[in-house]
Subunit: 348 residues, 4 copies
């Protein structure tokens, strides 16, 4: 932490200020220039709040040198984290010792409808995406909707249908939690998803941090990379290391796509953190024909997986139909992605 | 709702599509140009999802003409909503029949520390801000913090201290709720605050919609005005009409202030909605010396109230010290605001 | 300038790097912590490029402490700049010794049509706005239009009409220059305007820096405050100190108004710079009924002036009609602003 | 164009308004609902300004159905535009009939230093990038710099050095023009670049539209896709069809990279326009190690080319060193890109 002091601060005030930090066990270095005096703090400042320091009347401004996240930081955990999820589908195929993985040389594809709408719909889609190579089934039972008048999801019944689809296909399931109490009905869910709007719902983050299951954390639509990693840190600080980061588009000044897929986040997150990174092109662009080029680009940028919306009848979908692929389109997509996954020396 | 159809759509498909809406009780108007065919929907489309319609293969794009919010919409509720909160402080002064009000010719000032830190701190500040003319006391007991390592608030104990300060001064209290279960300890809270990060925590919105108390809803830092009003609609659709809208700065490309105070939101919200609008300049700019000019500007733009951070010792504040006024600075501010409040033909 | 070095840099490389700066006449301070070594540069670094330094393989990152602008910086010019423009209208009224001023206790209102369309239109509007109290006439002869198919302005003929209107009313005139060669026909223009889209047209900035006339520089719609001041610095570094800064709305994620008027820029610019600051609410919001509340707010925030679009027949305006006031609306506006100007202890 | 009228507009006013458009040769369709009356305009509305219409007192708002760009629009030009530039380097290798191409199955790589600094530097880099497979040499002689105190480029002398490097290697050259008069010294330049800050310098766009050379147009850092295409339209409307669109990063709320590379723009621009699209990952991210993953992603997203900064000694570069590759790194990059170019069925 570097503290730039205001010009003309009397020496005795500087001394007293410096001692304040030394009493907290930090080392300090004072550097006096003609116009500017700088106080450097040495030691673990990750729990210090630069804004509190900035409020001091001696201080012009504060610059944080150290990242505020620790457990998510590659500096303190140089090896890639690999997240393993038991998969009956993989076991049946004698593939990957019965696991689906995120991270390192693995590539995972999570596919399924935005909302769970019914048993036939869901099991049908599940069978289709499995046949095309998907490694996880996704489906929303609790749906965050901008309008109170829109379909809010099937709730507990939706979770039950996901369990049926899991039984039918062996695919592990990914679904979103919106409130703490919903966790009670998610015992059989394999990966808990935190949606973009809840990325800074800190009480929810702490609670999924305690639940022991892998968590797919979506980046908020105007969250900085630092805030995104701090939200991962919330989950990890409760003892849960299995966090999958998911970029799903950010909000900018333009709206030709629903959100702007920030693919630079892939190499950057993988540089500063050891956690796996997944891309959701469907929500990012909101346009089904754009899912293919963005999926290819995500792989080429180094993503560890994709999350793709698939619906048997997008025109009648109760949510997000305009961005869903049909099972047939998804199958064609998976074939096209093969070459790119191979070029990146990864495999499903 | 206006649906622009793709060029060269066969007439029989258009007919079938048109009937689909008529079966839902809507009127339709077809307008055929040389290149473009447009289908207009007439009737109540507020619960229809334009994205679902856009997923139909006949559709080029969809334009919503009607606002998706109803209860928050001034069109259906032309009169300004006035929210009255019983205030022992007002009663003691024989002022406003013992109420503090938001809306119409009233102006309200909510003041207090970002975080409740202790009894002496809080009661001291409460007494000071009351003496200077504040009509509400604010203070955070449950604090949304970006880092899990930052001070998270005193929790239930903080609510208890707010009750003590209310007893000591008669000022009604405003505090933030972050999770549904926290509502249990807020029986004596007068106005429930939903923070910016929870503006789209829909389960929480529904729950405060049921609690019967006035709700101060903060705009999310990248929420559009439409999304903001839809979140108010969530609360109102549960039967709670007492929603106070609070603009507290949005996120832009620049960061010379913490957020960018969007003062245009004041006249715009008051034009399209009947709900009162309050400005929080302290959180918006994050710089204490900027609170005064922004407060004056907020009044001049037509705001119904202000929310101001005041701390007895900003340099030692456990959160947001750099934007807090001292009680003395707050007193000077209130004197300066007087002329502007009068020019707007309002009174505290 | 603070240079944070990479961990584990050998001492002899640090020494050599340090000498590099000392040879350029700068003082240096080295501060070594456990994980981080920091090199502070002392002296005039305003012409140094932090990005060039950041490219060195020893460097982790660079933090600029000193602002990169000098001539626009209040630190080196503590007094408010006041810009005086000779005004025959003021002279006739024996007002302000025949000048219109920007800065300090003065307040100026620049009013007129977006585009100059014809003599009757322009002279009529000029007479009307003068009668209502405007101190400058604005009008566009060269128009920056997003589409090549839109009306591009009357060009040289438009400048001639502005001269006629100036003769008729005595009001000094403000008009936009889009290309260097257009300056040739602007000898009788009193204030040269640089539009938002040309804020970083550096060749044009240098040229108006040489022209000797006051320059009204509009902030680009996604320019940071620092970039804005650096563009002022371009003009000033050519010897022209008479720069008026104009905030006219920035681009954000929302579009309920055309742009988002950033009123915090007023107190901030006036804190860090000595140049006068003017607000253009018409272009910012793009909605005529919103001009009044935003004008009042701009004054309350401390602005030195306003720039308001007025058109005799907004419905037939060749550009920007939807945001123009009629002369009658402008007159009513000026009456309402009076109280706010007085409260700020300023006068027209 | 769809015009939504205000409620309760008298029929005779609607009639008169409707006739106004019919007199301009447009067809009209009136659609009356219970709350809303909609007037549809049929015909060529590309030169109409929706804002002028919106200013009419009868109008609630206006929705443009037709895109405002014509010559850049794929609807009116379904075939991909291919831009051919004579290349002595290609001729010598008996490659592509002596041309370098943008578009269709071709892929082009423009490489070179940000700024031209000297003959040895430039010719050395030119030889190196040619050997690694680059098809164009880039180099800046006129440099747009945020600060007037930064290196502004070698100017005319820089153009001369580019000509020498072209002679030495046979590579066609790409360089930026910042002001109209600079075009005079660019007779031997092969592709004229318009920088991001000048994307809406309309006088300059018109002038390069007249110059007959291919133009590489960079997207402004907060330009919408529509504005970007309208700027291409400016060039094309002067008779120059050879426009290459270049996405180079946009400005968002985050700054972990210098700008946010918007890769969705690639498939979208290629869908709505027939012009070739090139990506500049170096300027977008501003970090040299990120150029490789973003280059691979750009190819996978469907780009027609790349623009890459290469410098022989990035640490001593006079501009943008931190994002430049060394010739050796560039060579390694080109080898890695090969597989991706092949997968996309393209060739250099």
């Amino acid at each position: 932490m570097i503290i730039v002091l205001k010009p003309n601060t009397p020496q005795e005030e500087i001394d007293a200020f410096q001692r304040l930090f030394e009493q907290q066990g930090l080392g300090t270095h004072l550097s006096k220039g003609v116009n500017t005096t700088i106080l450097g703090l040495v030691g673990d400042t990750s729990s210090m709040n630069e804004k509190t320091i900035a409020a001091n009347h001696l201080v012009d401004h504060v610059v944080r040198v150290q990242e505020p996240y620790k457990m998510a930081n590659r500096k303190f955990h140089p090896e890639d984290t690999v997240i393993a999820v038991a998969s009956k589908a993989a076991a049946k195929d004698n593939h990957n010792n019965g696991f689906a993985f995120f991270g390192k040389s693995h590539f995972s594809v999570i596919a399924g409808p935005c909302s769970v709408e019914g048993e036939d719909q869901l099991v049908g889609i599940a069978r289709a995406v499995k046949a095309s190579g998907a490694t996880f089934l996704r489906g929303g039972a609790f749906k965050p909707r901008t309008s109170p008048y829109s379909f809010q999801g099937l709730g507990k019944e939706g979770i039950h249908l996901l369990e049926l689809a899991k039984k039918a296909t062996g695919l592990p399931i990914v679904t979103e939690v919106m409130a703490i109490k919903q966790l009670e009905v998610m015992q059989n869910v394999d990966v808990i998803q935190i949606g973009a709007r809840n990325m800074q719902n800190f009480d929810l983050l702490k609670e999924v941090g305690k639940c022991g299951k892998p968590v797919l954390l979506k980046r908020g639509l105007s969250a900085t990379i630092k805030e995104f990693l701090m939200s991962a840190e919330y989950i990890m600080s409760e003892g849960n290391d299995n966090v999958i980061l998911c970029e799903r588009g950010i909000r900018t000044f333009d709206n030709y796509t629903r959100n702007c897929l920030d693919l630079s986040a892939v190499p950057y997150l993988k540089k500063v953190s050891h956690l796996p990174v997944v891309i959701d092109p469907s929500h990012a662009c909101g346009i089904s024909w754009m899912v293919e080029p963005l999926s290819k680009a995500a792989i080429a940028a180094g993503a560890d997986g994709l999350m793709i919306e698939v619906h048997n009848n997008p025109e009648k979908a109760l949510s997000d139909g305009e961005q869903s692929l049909t099972p047939k389109q998804f199958d064609s997509l998976m074939q096209k992605l093969e070459g790119y996954i191979k070029l990146e020396e990864r495999s499903l």
